[in-house]
Each structure stands twice: as structure tokens, then as C-alpha cells.
Symmetry: C2
Subunit: 190 residues, 2 copies
DNA sequence: ATAAAAATGTGATTTAGATCACTTTTAGCT
DNA sequence: AGCTAAAAGTGATCTAAATCACATTTTTAT
């Protein structure tokens, strides 16, 4: 029977390979958690002690503004990392909610343990370096899309780029992610 | 007389300290370049062979859309890293222009050399890991500001957050960075 | 199976901000 | 200092998208 951490090790090794000794050191720093649809992984106002890797499921990370309106920062699914990165990194109260759109399973890691394994195993430092860099590049694209494209173009682009997400997620959440009202999005034809 | 790389070493050591041996290995991978105001560091359509660290000066990184309109992704000044990160990372033709708003000096590094020093010196991997992470966090804030705030609020926020930038840069570029027309920005009172 | 709750669709109206057109001010250059 | 070009201000008009209001459809829970 296969170790449940297998998929996580594989994920790390997609970028930098690890020896069995290195993995045996890394693995115990991760813990397992499972949540059902609608349950919260992270809540604004509270400490954010972990960053999470999604084994399977789907979550949304979002901010709620002063008018109570929800703005989606990220949809995260299988093999994605998710947290309130700012609060986690600076160990301060969060401003982001993360909750499950589907039943989900996670591995999670504390900041202290992340630093520990990054310093002990250079391949892990390099892994997170490259992952962060990819995240940065993707966010730059999102900023550009918000600056240059119309709401409808952003929607059409998302439909071609992540067609599966459109199926898995209510349109009003897609609207919130794109920065459009759900009424306006409903008038676009897909 | 002080080594011109001193500021760069100091910049690395703000996050993880280095031995003299490590620095002696790292330093020769960086090269020096100087440009005058209005000169290009990077041009869309061309290969992006380097990432740049700004010793002093100020540049803008921007995309030009199909209507010829300029959208500013980043202002980068002393101690900032700048490149067309996507094109650099994937070694493909760029889509971003970077040019100087002031005479500027840079150290630059190739992708190959970056990988080389990251693998040889774990502190460098950790340095770029943390830097990328900070960049990611800042971009998340920018995305949120575009989703949640009005144009005027974004402007007022920038004025309080980076008052020096407002002085150093024409308002029409600030407008482009914020995703507002220069006419609309001109009607905000500062 | 049925009730309640979400999600979606659609018309009518409003609005933040874009665009256009032109003037005034400021900064660079020889 | 004087000339040129870029930057900034301002009125008038237009428009993409928000908001409001309500109907319809689809999910979810019991």
C-alpha cells in the first residue's frame, strides 16, 4: 500500500530531486488535515500558522471589503499551495478567508518548519524559490489582465485557460475573481 | 576604496549571511551596466537574457497593448530586481519593455548563472526564495487593490505608501500604473 | 419528494471613469 | 534666454459596467 505522502514527494521532485534520506527528514514536518465543503481553512482576524498543500479538493481564498463584498484572490485545487501568505510570512493576523468549495484534503507546514527544511535541504529552498517565482509571474499576468482587458475579455480568456474551473465553480464566484458583477458576467455569452 | 559590489553583498546579507568564500564565488557571476535616461534595458520581442539589480536610478517596466497604450507593471529603483521575469524564466521572447526614467546603474545575472549560484550556495537559493515570496505578496496586494478600491482610493493609497515615487515620476505614468486615465487622475486632489 | 436556499438570468437605471478636445504650465535643450 | 516638447489641467460627452429589482432555474438538505 502506497504512502499517502507519495504525491507530495512527487510534487517536490518535479523541480529538484531528493534522496530518500532528505525525504525522510522533510516528511515528518508535514501534517494532514481534511475539511468538508463550506468549512474554513483560514479566517481573517486570526493567526495564520500554516501554509497548505492541497492533496485533492478545491478552495477559494478571498477578502471581504468594508461593504461585505467578497473578492476572490485565488482558486486553489489539487497540487496548489494556499495560505494567507502575507499573514503567514509575517506571523500577523490574517485578512484573507480560505474555505472549501468541495471536500478537501491538505498537507500543512508551519513557518518555522518551512525555514527549517529550507535550510537543511537546499533542494527544498530551490523548490520554493521556483514555485514563488511562478506564482509571481502568474500574478503579474493577472495584474496586466486587469489593467489591459475588458471584463468580457478576461472572462473569455479564463474560459479558454481554465475551462474545468468554470464547470466546478458557481459563476458568481468566477465574477468575483474577475472583478465583474455577477449580473454583468451573466450577460456575456460563453 | 570600497568594492562596487559591496551594496549587492549587503543586499543579499540582509536576509541570509554569507561567508567570504561564498561571496567570492557569487560575485563574478554579476556584471555591471549603466544606462542613461530614456534608454532601454529590455525590449518586447527580444530575448531576455538577464535579470537586473538596480544599484541606483529608476526604471519602469510596462506592456504596450494592441492600441499602443502603455500599462505599467512596476516602477523599480535602488535595490529592486527587475526583468521580464516570465520571458527570462522560460527563455522566450519578451512582452515587456523596461526603460530608464533616470540615469541608472545595474548589476545583471543570467538565468544559467542564477541557477548555478543557487545550487552552489544554499543561502542564495533562500535569498531568492524569500525575495520572490515578498514580490508575490506585494502583487497580491496590488490585485486586491484593483479588485476592491476605486481609482481615487488607489491613488491616495499610493501617495501615502510611496510619496517619494509621486515626486520622481510624471503623473501620467502614475496613472498608467494605477489603471486610470491621466485626465481622471488629474482631477483627484492630492 | 418537497421545501428552502443558492444560483442564474434579465430589464431598467445609474455612475465611475474613459475619451475627446483644447488650454496652460513646466521641464529640457542648444 | 528662448524654443520646443512633454506634462498637466479642465470642460463636455460617452460608455462599460455597477447597481437595483425581480423572475426563473438549479441545488441542497430533510
Amino acid at each position: 500500500m502506497e504512502n499517502k505522502f507519495h504525491s507530495l514527494r512527487q510534487h517536490f521532485e518535479e523541480l529538484y530531486s531528493l534522496t530518500d534520506e532528505e525525504w525522510d527528514f522533510i516528511e515528518p514536518h508535514f501534517h494532514f488535515k481534511t475539511l468538508k465543503k463550506h468549512q474554513f481553512l483560514i479566517q481573517a482576524g486570526q493567526a495564520v500558522n500554516f501554509e497548505y498543500w492541497i492533496i485533492n479538493g478545491l478552495v477559494k481564498a478571498y477578502h471581504i471589503d468594508d461593504k461585505g463584498k467578497e473578492h476572490i484572490l485565488q482558486f486553489a485545487m489539487e497540487k496548489y499551495w494556499v495560505s494567507d501568505h502575507c499573514a503567514f510570512q509575517h506571523q500577523e493576523p490574517g485578512t484573507i478567508f480560505v474555505d472549501c468549495l468541495e471536500d478537501s484534503e491538505f498537507f500543512y507546514l508551519s513557518l518555522e518548519d518551512r525555514e527549517k527544511i529550507c535550510l537543511a535541504v537546499p533542494a527544498v529552498a530551490n523548490f520554493f524559490r521556483v514555485k514563488s517565482n511562478h506564482g509571481y509571474i502568474n500574478l503579474q499576468k493577472r495584474v496586466l489582465s486587469l489593467l489591459t482587458m475588458t471584463a468580457e475579455d478576461r472572462y473569455q480568456y479564463l474560459v479558454t485557460k481554465l475551462p474545468a474551473l468554470i464547470q466546478r465553480v458557481p459563476k458568481k464566484l468566477i465574477a468575483s475573481y474577475l472583478g465583474v458583477s455577477r449580473e454583468t458576467l451573466s450577460r456575456f455569452n460563453s
